[in-house]
Amino acid sequence: MSKEEKKTQADIQEDNSSKKKQEMFLFLSEKEEKEGFLSKNNRKLLSDPLDDNNPITVQVLGICSALAITVQLKPAIVMSLAVVFVMAFGNMIISLLRKTIPSRIRIIVQLVVVASLVILVDQFLKAFAYDVSKQLSIFIGLIITNCIIMGRLEAFALGNGVYKSFLDGVGNAAGYGLILIIVAFFRELLGSGTLLGFEVLGHQAASIEDSTGLYALGYENNGLFLLSPMALIIVGLVIWYQRSRNKKLIEEN
């Protein structure tokens, strides 16, 4: 994917979100919530899933995709953006419809909303970021089954206002994306010696004499990092680090 393509994609997402934001402000001015846009409660919706209530490291959801698409940084970033998009808009749409959805078919409605958003993302990627969409292949489609998304729709969006749902969606998706990117960073760096495709550790040639950077000193890439088990191990290490810092997460017994 060239830089240009990346830009257009980011632009689209930005455009979409700014449009939605305007709608949101209209919606807000009419009713509910006298709180400020980034009141303490609202900030908490965004920041909680990043640490105290992280979907991957605390709730241990969405592990499957965390294994599958974290071999390289770029697909992980695109996947995170796609999940942010799907989760924020899915949450908003469900929250908008929450007073009209017949409760007996609410799960079906949620699925339809998530599935259509995912198809949209897939179509846009195929048109504007073809190579990334090939790399992610079925995993974009599998966002539908990402239990974080259905979980947030069911647990939060059905009972909360649009703006709060939006924040909750962005927050949870960002928490998911954060872990994805951390894992992908280490896996790509130590597994392939590159970051976003750039050879940050120097160039590895067939012989040590021809190599540059760390490879000239005899450094070797660790192939284990390319395999799925290493993703779990890194997630485990992240959980360890997080719990050693955040006392709230430590169970009493």
């Binding site: 409760s103 949209l120 179509q123």
Partner: protein, 242 residues
């Protein structure tokens, strides 16, 4: 209206289905041209890469026009069919037709002073279709390069056919055996002579036997279809040699 009544539920779901269907089909239709363009460029990129031209997808079209000097469409007897453009032939569709009606596309490439013939491949892997391109040198025997792709092979096993290390093995392999029969290249388990380029064999991928067999079958099946044309060409070469 009562949100839990049957009537409401039906009306709600009907409206929902219409809205969703409309918005999705509008998006899909409007993005279709761009997606097709990407697929087209990727096809050019793949054809070029078998003859050793590595390029970005955006440059593919320019280089394709420069280096692919002829697009050949053949019928079952090895005669040229001018009414069908080789690049637009979809192998997936062709293979469903009876053999007499099928056409077989081929591309003639000129790069760095050598002429290659690129033949598209398509076959079955373990889960779904696999496809690719093989570039033959002017003798219609030595492989200049191959590229494979797949729809749904297992990541890390069957999907490895798309990797360079696997495709590298095919370079300089021969598709005819010493008796002069077209045997293509066998992807063989436990094979340990990667440097022997005249035995029509390359090493298989461990854990991906069915995909490996699929590659073998695909190459054999597809290359055989070009035998009449290859014969007519190589005989001419042999004739002029005498």
């Amino acid at each position: 209206m009562d949100r839990n009544s049957n009537k409401y539920t039906f009306i709600f779901s009907i409206i929902m289905v219409f809205v969703v269907a409309a918005s999705l089909s509008i998006t899909a239709t409007s993005l279709q041209p761009m997606q097709n363009e990407n697929v087209r460029q990727e096809k050019m990129q793949n054809i070029l890469s078998t003859v050793g031209i590595e390029c970005e997808r955006a440059e593919a079209e320019k280089l394709y026009k420069k280096h692919i000097v002829d697009e050949i469409t053949l019928d079952n007897d090895g005669n040229r069919v001018e009414s069908r453009k080789a690049f637009n032939v979809s192998l997936a569709k062709e293979m469903d037709k009876p053999i007499e009606e099928q056409v077989f596309p081929m591309y003639k490439a000129q790069y760095k002073g050598s002429t290659n013939y690129v033949i598209p491949l398509r076959g079955k892997g373990l889960w779904d279709a696999i496809w690719g391109y093989v570039a033959l040198e002017e003798d219609f025997n030595t492989i200049q390069g191959v590229i494979f792709d797949h729809k749904g092979e297992t990541a890390g096993l069957g999907a490895e056919i798309t990797r360079d290390w696997f495709q590298e093995n095919f370079k300089n392999e021969k598709i005819f055996n010493e008796e002069g029969d077209l045997v293509a290249v066998q992807v063989t388990k436990g094979y340990s002579q990667p440097d022997n380029k005249s035995d029509n064999k390359v090493d298989a991928i461990s854990g991906a036997t069915i995909t490996s067999d699929g590659v073998t079958d695909m190459m054999q099946e597809r290359l055989k279809k070009y035998l009449p044309y290859i014969k007519s060409k190589t005989q001419k070469i042999a004739f002029t040699d005498e």
